[in-house]
Structure formats: structure tokens, C-alpha cells
């Protein structure tokens, strides 16, 4: 009989481990590369450049409105590859499970990973599972590592950003971070606020087809838009000017940010991208983005300047101007 919780024995390497792999993990991701359960997958990548990225996921809570740690683990690495201009192909999955994790939770996470991988069009081809004693991990940690292929002619890199480039944002800010915060703190804002976790590779593919000359792609995850823009300004040695009025934030998210004294510019997103593009590509790319469900709310938020290199400035809604710095430390909700 299958136990209803993860036991240390599931990580023993013996029979229980074997059953976990063959009865639970393999069926979730069944594909010809994983099926032999060999020590690793042997991949035929053909010619060309390979993008390679890794990310670990430790989010608490593991389930939240709009997704779960399983969705994040797939989409996060898929998006990192897509931001390199690559078409993501294969993922590995490392699971660290806390003793006592309900089996049903694991199955739910695996189902989410399966559907996320399906949506992104990637295969999970190798994996590893460890079980640690209660308290040594928080329910479940997931690492995914992915590889993808960069099509010929695509050069997406910070050093290609130029003064005059337009900065495109694919949609609303702060949905993911505020969802997690409101869940974690039990604020009871469940309904209208939900994570934006989504795979961006299909959108990126369409964008690169319309404009292979995109200079840079970024997904503003931890640290938010403000931090991503500062990183680009520093690494590309350019100035950035954005307009507050253009930045889309959903009403309930804006309200929650306001209530807690949190600046949406610094809140994490999990399904949004920034594109730095030559001015002539602005119109065709906006058309492509706005016709895709993940880019429906796309906006041009600003442009790259030769002035004030390394600094991000914002034209405020009332016509003032201010500096947008990198996030320092975790944002803490205020007293009053």
C-alpha cells in the first residue's frame, strides 16, 4: 500500500525510492529520453549554440492562486532560456522533499510541472530525488536546469543595448510577488490577485521572428522592474528614462501595494518580459505582443538614453522626475 506521506525511506535509494520513481515520477513526465531511467539523458542537439541555465525554487506557500512551485520551476527556467533568445528544449529536475510531505501534494506539484512543460513544449529528461528529515527543508525545494538552442543570427545581450532603444514591457507588474505576500501573511486578498507565472518562450519566438534584431530581453523576476532596469543601465553603460503613467498595474494589486507601502516597481513577476529594441522595431513588436495572450497588455515604458549612464530615471505621473534605484534589502510592510 502506498503511504500518504513522504518518508525518509523514499530517499534511501532502495525499493521505496524505486517505487517513487517508477510509480509517481516517471508516469508524470513519461517520454522516450526519461523512460530508460539511465544515469543521464543523451541528447541530440544538432548544430548551433546552446543556452544553458539553472534555477532553484523554494517558494512558500507551495500552492498559491495562479500556480504552484511546480509551475514556477518549469516556467522559471524556460523563461531564463527564452531571455537568452533560445528555444528551450530539455529540463532536468532535482527534487528535495521534506519528510512528511503529503503524497498528494507531491502528485499535485508533478501534475503542474507536467502541464507547464507541455505548455512550454519542453521535456523533463533527467532528474533526482532526495528526502531530508523533517525541518531540514521546507516541504519541497525544486531545482531545474535547462538547455535550449539559440537560432542562427540571434544576438540577445546587454552590450547590444543602444541609446534610442525603446523599452517594451509585456504586461502588468507585481502580480506574482503580491500574490505570494498576501498568501504568506494570510491577508485574505485571495480572489482578485493571482500569480502571472507563465512560459514566455512562445511569445519570444514570435517576437524574434518579427524582429531578429531585438537587442536585449529580460524577465523582471525578483527585485522587479526597477532592479532589472538598473542592472541593464549598469551593464550596458546607458541611461534609462521611463514613464510612470505607462506602467500597468492591476487595480487590486495597486491597492494592495498601497496598503502595505510596497512599491510595485520592486515586486517580482513570473510571466513578464522586457525587450530593448531598435526604434523602428517598436511598432511591429507591439503588434506581435498585443496579439498574444501573454502580451495583451504590452506597453512601451520608456527609452534608452546616452545621458546619465548607469542611472534609471522616471517621469512621474504628475510630470515630475525622480531616480529609480535598485532594490535594497527586502521590502518590509510599513507601520502607517
Amino acid at each position: 500500500m502506498k503511504p500518504d506521506k513522504i518518508l525518509l525511506d523514499h530517499g534511501s535509494g532502495g525499493l521505496m525510492s524505486h517505487r517513487l520513481v517508477t510509480e509517481t515520477l516517471l508516469p508524470a513526465f513519461d517520454n522516450p529520453l526519461l523512460a530508460p531511467l539511465h544515469d543521464g539523458a543523451v541528447l541530440d542537439l544538432g548544430q548551433g549554440r546552446v543556452a544553458f541555465s539553472t534555477d532553484s525554487f523554494v517558494v512558500d506557500p507551495i500552492f498559491f492562486p495562479g500556480g504552484s512551485i511546480g509551475d514556477l520551476a518549469v516556467n522559471g527556467t524556460v523563461n531564463d532560456l527564452a531571455m537568452c533568445g533560445a528555444e528551450p528544449r530539455f529540463l532536468s529536475m532535482g527534487l528535495i522533499l521534506e519528510e512528511g510531505l503529503p503524497f498528494s501534494d507531491l502528485e499535485r506539484i508533478l501534475a503542474d510541472m507536467k502541464s507547464a512543460a507541455g505548455a512550454a513544449g519542453v521535456f523533463i529528461v533527467t532528474g533526482d530525488t532526495k528526502v531530508v528529515p523533517r525541518g531540514a527543508a521546507d516541504k519541497v525545494f525544486i531545482n531545474t536546469t535547462g538547455i535550449g538552442l539559440v537560432p542562427a543570427g540571434i544576438q540577445v545581450a546587454p552590450n547590444r543595448v543602444r541609446p534610442g532603444d525603446r523599452i517594451l514591457l509585456s504586461g502588468t507588474l507585481a502580480d506574482h510577488g503580491m500574490t505570494i505576500l498576501s498568501q504568506r501573511e494570510g491577508l485574505g486578498f485571495g480572489g482578485p490577485v493571482q500569480s502571472d507565472t507563465a512560459p514566455l518562450n512562445h511569445l519570444v519566438k514570435k517576437m524574434l521572428a518579427a524582429c531578429p534584431d531585438i537587442h536585449l530581453l529580460r524577465d523582471p523576476t525578483r527585485g522587479g522592474l526597477g532592479t532589472s532596469l538598473n542592472e541593464v543601465a549598469c551593464s550596458a553603460g546607458v541611461g534609462i528614462l521611463m514613464e510612470e503613467d505607462r506602467i500597468p498595474v492591476r487595480g487590486p494589486v495597486a491597492g494592495l501595494c498601497e496598503l502595505l507601502g510596497i512599491d510595485p516597481l520592486y515586486v517580482a513577476n513570473e510571466g513578464k518580459l522586457l525587450a530593448f529594441v531598435p526604434p523602428e522595431a517598436e511598432a511591429p513588436l507591439m503588434a506581435v505582443m498585443q496579439s498574444d495572450p501573454l502580451g495583451r497588455d504590452a506597453v512601451v515604458i520608456g527609452e534608452v538614453l546616452a545621458d546619465h549612464p548607469g542611472r534609471v530615471e522616471m517621469k512621474t505621473r504628475i510630470g515630475g522626475r525622480r531616480i529609480v534605484r535598485m532594490l535594497t534589502g527586502e521590502q518590509l510592510p510599513r507601520i502607517c
Binding site: 502588468t172 501573511e185 491577508l187 503613467d245 505607462r246 506602467i247 500597468p248 498595474v249 492591476r250 487595480g251 487590486p252 495597486a254 491597492g255 498601497e258 502595505l260 507601502g261 512599491d263 497588455d297 522616471m314 517621469k315 512621474t316 505621473r317 504628475i318 510630470g319 515630475g320 522626475r321 525622480r322 531616480i323 529609480v324 534605484r325 535594497t328 534589502g329 521590502q331 518590509l332 510592510p333 510599513r334 507601520i335 502607517c336
Partner: protein
């Protein structure tokens, strides 16, 4: 206008109108002749001024100085040390607002103590702390009460509820402070040379506009109660400039949509029932008469300062930290030798760099 913005904040939309703000700014520029220094007392004003870029719209004649309006920042070092000490008591759970976590005491901060294994929880309401006490009867839950008249009524309500329900393991360390005594103290400081005050809107909702009349009459200083949207602040600045240019010194209420003459009677009743005014130390201002709120004797069973024998040691202020001068507007953050050099929001030396509403943190994030 962005279709996503303000969907649940509709009542505020008019005050965010860029056209209205531009017109108000133009009026200020047209009216202002004299060089003046205005102090915004409230930390929420400081942040709103920075975030909306109001300074870049004002004429050179108008300087905005930030005052002691961040409750975390004016909390005395002794109180911070007491919070840290209480977190080390065996059966104690500390419940606190998030701002306090990173404030450095003489030897440690709550954030560091939590990392060291102390049970310290961030709550959003004192009622959450009360619920925690109800759920964990074997532990004592100490709520750290820091804030002005805005925050204090909710904490008075929690204490009152604890008494009604007979919850004995809920304790409050009250470091609450009142705004009007601080305004008087600022006027008594030498070399202040302030020409007017932007008075805090949220505090005024509770205490009412009338609470400032004695202050304005005594010091003959222009003072305007302001809301927090850019247009609210610009309108209040315009009223101040107009008063100053015409040689008047009056109290005006530019936030009448929520601030009345007499305030919120229910909140004031609760405050008077649970708390008594006492002389307390403010960082940067020293001991101010009747400026703090401590629990009345009838509520001493819920008073953390009475329940614990807190070991205070002499605590020198961190060397080179100019928080005292910054809180009183005598120096701007960039003039502090520590600002940005060893004192940043990540590694704050003084409290002004910690809270989102702290003057130094606001200058660091938005200003330089």
C-alpha cells in the same frame, strides 16, 4: 490614463490627475517670492513627495524639509534595545509591524534575533497579535506598539478586547507618541528657521484639526493639514505659500474630505480610556512633556514594561550617525558623514535609513 491603475481606488483618481497637479504647481511658482523652508512632518508625505517627484516641480524659493514623522525613526534606542531583550525571554513571541525588524539597537536588531532563532512574527494588525495570543495560551505574546495617534487607537482596541475576553498572555510595549508636542519642541529648537508646516493627514483624522490650534496660536506659524496624493500636497504647499506671502499665520485644513475639526470621537475615547500621556524620550528631540502614550494603571496587567524586568544598559548612539539632526530638519541626509558610506537601507546605522518612511531611506531610494 492607464486603464489598470486605480480600479479599486476610484475615489482618489481626481487627486492623481496630472493636469490638476500641473496647475497647482504653476500657481505655486507664480505666487512664491520669498525663500521659504517648509517642513513635512509625516513620513508618508516624505515618501509621496519623492515618489511623485514634487520637488522637481517647485520653484527654487520653496525648500521642503522632512521632519520627525516616521514613528520607527523617533523611537528611542532604549526602546529598541528593550524589544531585542524581550525577544530573548523564554516563553515570549514578539509580534511587530514589519518596519521595526531591521532597526539596529545597540547590539542587535529583531531581524538578526529572528535569524538566531527567536520567535518574532510580523503582523499587520494588533488584532492579529491578539489572535496569536488566543491560539498560543502557553506563550506570552508581546506586541511592540510603535506609532503615532494613527496607529494607537487600534492597539488600544486590542488591549480593551484582551481585557473583555480575559486574555492574559497578550502584552503591549507601548512606545506610542503624539505629534503636537513634537511640533512645539521643533519650534523651541534654535536655528530651525521654519516658515510653515505640512501637517500629517492620517494623524489629523484621529485627533482633528482643532488639536493644532494652540500650537499655531502660540508660535504664529502657518500650518496646513495635507492629504497624501500629489495634488493634496501641492494644494497644501500652495496654501502655505499664499499665507506666507500675505504675512498670515493660520491653521488651514486642506484635507477636509476626511479630517474634521474634532477628529474621530470613538478613537479618541479609546485612547483616553487605555492610555495616559507621559513624558518620553524621542530620538533627536530628547524628552518631551506629555508626548508619549503608556498604559493606564487599570490596564497594567497588559503592560509589557510592567510584566518584565527589562535589563537596560547605557546605550550610546552609533558614532557619526546624524539621525537626530535629520529628524529635526537641521541637516539633510547627504550631509551626514555616514549617508551612503556605511549606512544604507541594507546595512542601516540609524533608524532614518531603515523604515520605508525614514528620511534617509527616502533620500537614498529616490533622491540622490
Amino acid at each position: 490614463m492607464n486603464p489598470h491603475q486605480g480600479a479599486i481606488m476610484d475615489p482618489l483618481t481626481p487627486y492623481r490627475d496630472p493636469g490638476l497637479s500641473a496647475r497647482l504647481a504653476a500657481r505655486i511658482r507664480a505666487a512664491s517670492r520669498r525663500k521659504i523652508r517648509l517642513m513635512e512632518v509625516c513620513g508618508t508625505h516624505t515618501v509621496s513627495i519623492f515618489r511623485s517627484g514634487i520637488r522637481s516641480l517647485l520653484p527654487e524659493t520653496v525648500s521642503l524639509i522632512s521632519g520627525p514623522g516616521c514613528p520607527v525613526c523617533v523611537t528611542d534606542q532604549r526602546d529598541i534595545d528593550a524589544f531585542v531583550a524581550l525577544s530573548g525571554v523564554e516563553d515570549v513571541i514578539i509580534a511587530t509591524f514589519g518596519d521595526l525588524m531591521r532597526v539596529p539597537g545597540s547590539r542587535s536588531s529583531l531581524l538578526r534575533e529572528r535569524a538566531a532563532g527567536r520567535d518574532i512574527r510580523v503582523v499587520y494588525s494588533p488584532l492579529d497579535a491578539l489572535a496569536l495570543a488566543r491560539e498560543t495560551p502557553s506563550r506570552r505574546v508581546v506586541f511592540l506598539g510603535v506609532g503615532f495617534e494613527t496607529t494607537a487607537p487600534a492597539i488600544a482596541a486590542a488591549i480593551s478586547l484582551a481585557r473583555t475576553e480575559g486574555i492574559g498572555n497578550f502584552l503591549v510595549y507601548s512606545a506610542h507618541k503624539c505629534v503636537p508636542p513634537a511640533l512645539c519642541a521643533l519650534m523651541e529648537l534654535p536655528e530651525m528657521a521654519l516658515d510653515g508646516f505640512l501637517l500629517p493627514g492620517h494623524v489629523s483624522v484621529i485627533i482633528g484639526a482643532g488639536a493644532y490650534r494652540a500650537f499655531v496660536d502660540r508660535y504664529r506659524i502657518p500650518a496646513v493639514i495635507a492629504g497624501f496624493e500629489p495634488a493634496d500636497i501641492l494644494q497644501a504647499i500652495h496654501l502655505l505659500v499664499t499665507q506666507i506671502e500675505s504675512g498670515r499665520a493660520a491653521l488651514e485644513n486642506a484635507y477636509p474630505r476626511v479630517v474634521s475639526e474634532t477628529g474621530n470621537p470613538k478613537a479618541l475615547r479609546l485612547l483616553a480610556e487605555v492610555f495616559k500621556p507621559v513624558d518620553v524620550p524621542w530620538r533627536g528631540l530628547g524628552i518631551l512633556p506629555a508626548s508619549g502614550l503608556k498604559l493606564r494603571d487599570a490596564y497594567e496587567a497588559w503592560d509589557a514594561e510592567k510584566a518584565f524586568d527589562i535589563d537596560f544598559q547605557e546605550t550610546p548612539a552609533p558614532s557619526g550617525c546624524a539621525c537626530g539632526d535629520i529628524l529635526t530638519g537641521r541637516r539633510l541626509p547627504p550631509a551626514c558623514p555616514r549617508f551612503g558610506r556605511g549606512c544604507t537601507p541594507e546595512h542601516p546605522v540609524g533608524p532614518c535609513m531603515v523604515s520605508t518612511e525614514g528620511t534617509c531611506a527616502a533620500y537614498y531610494r529616490y533622491g540622490r
